[in-house]
Subunit: 376 residues, 2 copies
C-alpha cells in the first residue's frame, strides 16, 4: 500500500493524500459507504458510481461470516467478484459487531464466543480465525481483531480490554504473516487504538500500535455515545502520536460536522452507516441542514431537495415526490434518498479536499457552519 501526502493545511492537522492498493487509488480524506452484507443498503452500485463515484467501500466481517459465509465468497473468487465491485474494499474485523449485535458473548483471552443475531447459533472468533476469514473475504484493507468496550466504561475495564486488544493484535500480525493472500491482490492490515475515553490509556495504546509499523492506523471505540467534544479530545491526543506519514482511520464516524472536525485533527478515513441508514428513514443531509422529508410541510413542496446539489435525485425529483415515496414506503424512496445522502457525504469530502489543496480549509469550515444554519 502506498500513501502519499499531497497537501497539509497551514492552521490545522488536515491534509490531503492518495492511497493506492491493487484495486486502484483514492484521495484522502475519504468517506467509505457501508456495504454491511456486501451490498450498500438502498442503492444500486451503478447509480452510486454515476452519482458519487465512491472509490472504497466498507463491508462487515461479522455479517459476511454469518451470511453468505466465507466459503461462498471464496467460491465466488473473493468479495470484489461476489458483489461485482472493482474498486477498493475495507473489512472491519467483526470486533465491534460482536459487542453491539450479538445477544450473548463471552470474552476470554483466546477469543470471543458469541451468538448469531440471525439464528441464535454459537460461533467463536479469535484473532487468528478473523484474519483467516478476512483472507477468504479478500478486502484490500483488513482490520485487526479488537475488543470494543461500551461507553461509559470503568477505567479498570478499559485498561484490561485495551491490553487484550494489544495481545490480540500481536496474534493477528503473526497469523497475517503466515496465512498469505488467497486472491491475486495484496491485503493490508490496520491495527486499532482503543482505551475508551481515558486520555492516558489512548496515548499508551497509540504508542503500542504504532510500534508495529503497519501501513495504516485506526482509532476504534469512539462515537459510541460519548459527547462530541470528548471524541475530538481523544482523537487529537491519538493523532498526535500516530505517524503523519501513514493514513489515520477513525472508525464509525460520523455526522458531517464530526467528519469536518476530525479532518482538522488529522484523520484521513471515515465510515459510517449514517448517510445510508438515515436516508431510508427520510432523514436527508443538505447544504442548508437536515431535511426530514416525512414532515407534512414538504407535501406540496415542488422544489428540489437541495437547490445546490447536483445528484440525480435533486436534478430530477421534488421534495413533494420524495415525501410521497416516503409516506407510501416505496423502495424508490430509499433509493433516491440514499443516492442523495451518499452524494452529499462524498461531495463534502471532495469539497474539503479541494479547500485544503487551495489553502481554504479554514474558510470552508467557517462557511460550512454558516450555511448549515440557513434551512428553510
Amino acid at each position: 500500500m502506498n500513501f502519499k501526502i499531497h497537501k497539509s493545511d497551514q492552521d490545522t492537522s488536515a491534509r490531503t493524500g492518495l492511497i493506492t492498493t491493487d484495486h486502484g487509488s483514492f484521495e484522502t480524506p475519504i468517506f467509505m459507504p457501508v456495504a454491511t452484507s456486501a451490498a450498500i443498503k438502498g442503492v444500486h452500485n451503478k447509480d452510486l458510481i454515476e452519482n458519487a463515484s465512491p472509490k472504497v467501500l466498507l463491508s462487515n466481517t461479522y455479517h459476511l461470516y454469518l451470511r453468505p459465509g466465507q466459503n461462498i465468497i471464496n467460491k465466488a473468487g473473493g468479495i470484489h467478484k461476489f458483489m461485482s465491485w472493482e474498486n477498493n474494499i475495507l473489512t472491519d474485523s467483526g470486533g465491534y459487531q460482536v459487542y453491539s449485535l450479538s445477544a450473548n458473548r463471552k470474552i476470554n483471552p483466546d477469543g470471543v464466543k458469541f451468538k448469531s443475531h440471525i439464528d441464535g447459533s454459537y460461533h467463536f472468533f479469535t484473532p487468528e480465525n478473523v484474519i483467516d476469514i478476512q483472507r477468504n473475504i479478500g478486502a484490500d484493507i483488513i482490520m485487526a481483531f479488537d475488543e470494543c468496550p461500551p461507553y461509559p466504561c470503568q477505567k479498570n475495564y478499559a485498561r484490561k480490554s485495551m491490553d487484550l486488544t494489544h495481545e490480540w493484535l500481536k496474534r493477528c500480525i503473526n497469523r497475517f504473516k503466515i496465512n498469505k493472500p488467497i486472491y491475486k491482490h495484496n491485503q493490508f492490515l490496520f491495527p486499532i487504538v482503543q482505551g475508551s475515553i481515558y486520555s492516558d490509556l489512548r496515548k499508551q495504546s497509540a504508542e503500542i500500535i504504532v510500534n508495529h509499523d503497519l501501513p495504516g492506523n485506526a482509532i476504534g471505540g469512539l462515537s459510541v455515545g460519548e459527547p462530541h467534544e470528548l471524541m475530538y479530545e481523544i482523537c487529537e491526543d491519538v493523532c498526535n502520536i500516530l505517524p503523519k506519514e501513514k493514513p489515520r482511520y477513525l472508525m464509525g464516524v460520523g455526522t458531517p460536522i464530526n467528519i469536518l472536525e476530525n479532518i482538522a485533527l488529522g484523520i484521513d478515513m471515515f465510515d459510517c452507516v449514517m448517510p445510508t441508514r438515515n436516508a431510508r428513514n427520510g432523514y436527508l443531509f443538505t447544504s442548508i441542514g437536515v431535511i426530514k422529508i416525512r414532515n407534512a410541510k414538504y407535501k406540496k413542496d415542488t422544489r428540489p431537495l437541495d437547490q445546490d446539489c447536483t445528484c440525480s435525485t435533486c436534478l430530477n425529483y421534488s421534495r413533494a415526490y420524495l415525501h410521497h415515496l416516503q409516506k407510501t414506503n416505496e423502495i424508490l424512496g430509499s433509493h433516491l434518498n440514499t443516492l442523495h445522502n451518499l452524494h452529499y457525504y462524498l461531495e463534502l469530502m471532495r469539497s474539503i479536499r479541494e479547500a485544503i489543496k487551495n489553502n481554504m480549509f479554514g474558510e470552508f469550515r467557517k462557511n460550512f457552519y454558516i450555511k448549515l444554519g440557513s434551512i428553510d
Copy 2:
C-alpha cells in the same frame, strides 16, 4: 392518438403496430410495467430505461387519489412531471382497486362509496369524478370507470354489473367531452368490456362499447381466478368483435404464457404486477423457466441467473449473490430482481414483435414452450 398496424401474422390474429400520443410512440404488442403509486416498485427509472427501455407505464388512479392526492399531482404539473417520466403513462380508472382493495364498498347507480385501505376514510367514486381525477393526474391514456365483478359470479349479477358499466361509460364519455385536458397534451379514453365468463354477455358488451368509437378498447375482469383456457375463449370472442384498426388492451394479464397466447388472439397491450411483485419475492422469469432464487440450491451457484439474458443483473451478478441478497432482505435484491424480470417481460415483447414482423410467430411460439421446460 394514432394507431398504425404494421404487420399481421398469417396464422393467428397477432399483429404489430405503433401507438402515438403527445408523449411519443410505442410499438405494440406492448407490456406496461406497473407504477402503482407513481413509482415502479423496486427499481430506479433510470436503470430500467437503460435496461429495458419501457415506453409506457401504468399507474393506479385509486392509489394516486388516496396518496399523494390529485391536488398535489396537479400542483406538480401532472403525473409525468411529478414522477419525472417523459414517456407515455396510462391510468386505470380505480374500478378494479375499489373492488379488490377496499374493505367496505357500496355500489349504487350513481357510483361507489368505499373505505380507504390506508386510513379507513370514506370516499365516493362516480364516473364523473373519476374522469376529473384522471384529468388532474394527466396520463396519456385513461380508462372509463367500470364495475369489475369477482370470479366466480352469478350470471344475473354479471349482467347487472355489465349494464351498470355501460351506463357509467356513457357518463364518463359525457364528462370527458366537457372537462378538457389540464396540461399541454391530449388524453385518450378507453372503454372496458365486462361480462365475467359469460360469452353472450361479453359479446354484447363488446358490441356496445365498440359503438362508442373510442380510440382503443380494453377487456377487464379477466385473470381474476378463472382457468386460463376460459380466459382465452372469452378473449377470442371479444377480439372477434373489437375492431382490428384500434388497439386492444387486456387488463391485468399476466404470465409470459398468458401474454403470448393473448397476442395470438389479437391483443396489443398488457399490464401486470407479476414481474415486479414476483421479483421482490425472488421469483424470477428466465428463458428456461422460473427460478425461485431463495432455493438453497442457488447458494453456491456462481452462474448468472439467465445465461441468455443481457440485463445488467445477469451480466454482473451471480445466482449465489442474488440468493444472498434475498436471504438478507437487502433492498438491492429487489432492485436487481425487478430489473431482470422487467427486462425479461419487455424483451419477450420485443422478440414477439420481431417474430411477427419476420413471419416467424408460429415458430417463436413453438420454441418458447420447448425452451421453457429446460430449466436446470
